[in-house]
Symmetry: C2
Subunit: 332 residues, 2 copies
Amino acid sequence: MPHRIVHMLRARGSGRRPVMLAIAGDSAAGKTTLTRGLVRCLGEDRMTAVCVDDYHRYDRSEREGKPFTALHPDCNHIDVMEQHLQLLSMGEPILKPVYDHATGELVRPELVEPREFVIVEGLLPLHTRLARACFDITVYLDPPEELRHAWKVRRDCDKRGYTPEQVRAELDRREPESAAYIRPQRRWADIVVRFAPVAGRQDPPGTPLSAELLLRPTIDHPELDTVIGDSAPPPPAPGSPHGAETAMHLRLHRDTDGRPVDALHVHGYVSPDESRIVKKAIWERLGPRAGDGGLDPDALGRFGDGGTSDPLAITQLLLLYHLLDADRRQAA
Amino acid sequence: MPHRIVHMLRARGSGRRPVMLAIAGDSAAGKTTLTRGLVRCLGEDRMTAVCVDDYHRYDRSEREGKPFTALHPDCNHIDVMEQHLQLLSMGEPILKPVYDHATGELVRPELVEPREFVIVEGLLPLHTRLARACFDITVYLDPPEELRHAWKVRRDCDKRGYTPEQVRAELDRREPESAAYIRPQRRWADIVVRFAPVAGRQDPPGTPLSAELLLRPTIDHPELDTVIGDSAPPPPAPGSPHGAETAMHLRLHRDTDGRPVDALHVHGYVSPDESRIVKKAIWERLGPRAGDGGLDPDALGRFGDGGTSDPLAITQLLLLYHLLDADRRQAA
């Protein structure tokens, strides 16, 4: 080999690159629930879901006595995470590190091969500029902190064998690093998703949480103003218990940092009729791809425990729109 | 993120890429012995040595019943090995998989950060075109098979706890894949190194093996013809037990495939004086870098068991020449 030949990393197969969606958010913010419905709707043969929380520099025993928690960037191989995001975005496989939550050890890595669509969920996927540059669509999950804490206590006690006191102590310990490294990622999201109860309402038990979606003008959102915006017809369900009040609306809004955003509200008490109209509008905007039979709309809006939610379904549908739209642009 | 921005993988630091040397060869061919002296001579702060034999797709228990041994390319993540070689050649760190020979399991991967010089040794580093393209210098270790078998029996019994019968059975089992995948890499080496006894000689016990180095015209070798070639003066040690016979010579040679090569022979019975002249000639050709005090010539020619060998030292010195020469060209 007389000369150094550095090849660009090969684009395999057709040379099409996968569409990359980031779902960032703190522990127990709902990332997996949001991701699962998208994978089921598009199909596992077309979508790869990968969690990027396993790039730990230290295992549990090595972390003891260190002055930071596992979510501090210095506690992670952020440079390798960036590298792996770049590789996935180029259609390349990765050998992803694997952390065993049960033992606190780093174990055998796993091969991850990107399919047409890649969802990357985790604590820090939007932490660095290079990582952000790998994504077509970026989402930040931003539930109220008290709700997230309750979710984390439930999940870590049910599935990971901790006591509520242990989980709450860990949440306290992590709070400074959440504030310093996790929450600032909200700034970099094309879509900020907040599931929460509507303030001041006394909805019957079992009413799903409402969704507030901040739609930043950093990507092109589907045109919904004529359906639920200021120029939309009055709500279609005057017989509903909420009378003529609109359970879904799109409003111009100023974000906490002063930047303008569209805010799409989908209330938990939305009537099936009203939600059907919006879903239909988004499906129509998906274009011919939505009707090719390859999508399973029944997979949307489902929780792990079997419950369903229209605000969740509409949130996922909007993300589905963006995935297919990015794919269409890339094919064009 | 309105648009996909795929960055080239960053070149960190000064932007200089490491010089990459491959040492390919079958199991127990002497790769580690050759590598160790180079690392000690240049210093661990300047050189990274990495073995690429851990990219197993299956661990030991998963391999049972499979119709191939661990060295079959289909039994390895060759695409990830290629990717990691590219990353190293671009100065990027990798999380390299790790195989535990004691348990036969794949375990926690390790971070490998390339320094100025990277030696990649292993069974298959020259197997694919993309992998080969990552190297500045490629070496194939080609000892006679009976010698390699003896080395493997000794090492695997001493260090890995096998019986001689087990090692010989494994050698038999691997033979078809050695022939199909390992030995064809000889074709792609800039330098083919063969340590072997000289046929027909009865050297006293303890005489080191001779080295035969095929120097292919695929890289620029140091000009040694005036020292040990046809135009060199007669050997300097007429009082030696070998009389006027030259223990070192450079001859034009036709390789087994008919291609022309230079063949540098360094016999095990080379006298200290004769070997000193050649070493001095190569050091001089290393240029000012050789004299900067950062190199340790005493690290060359040493075996793990404390023995020394001039043929080994001269082989390593030649590789050192190529490492520094490639670095100089890159800086130019």
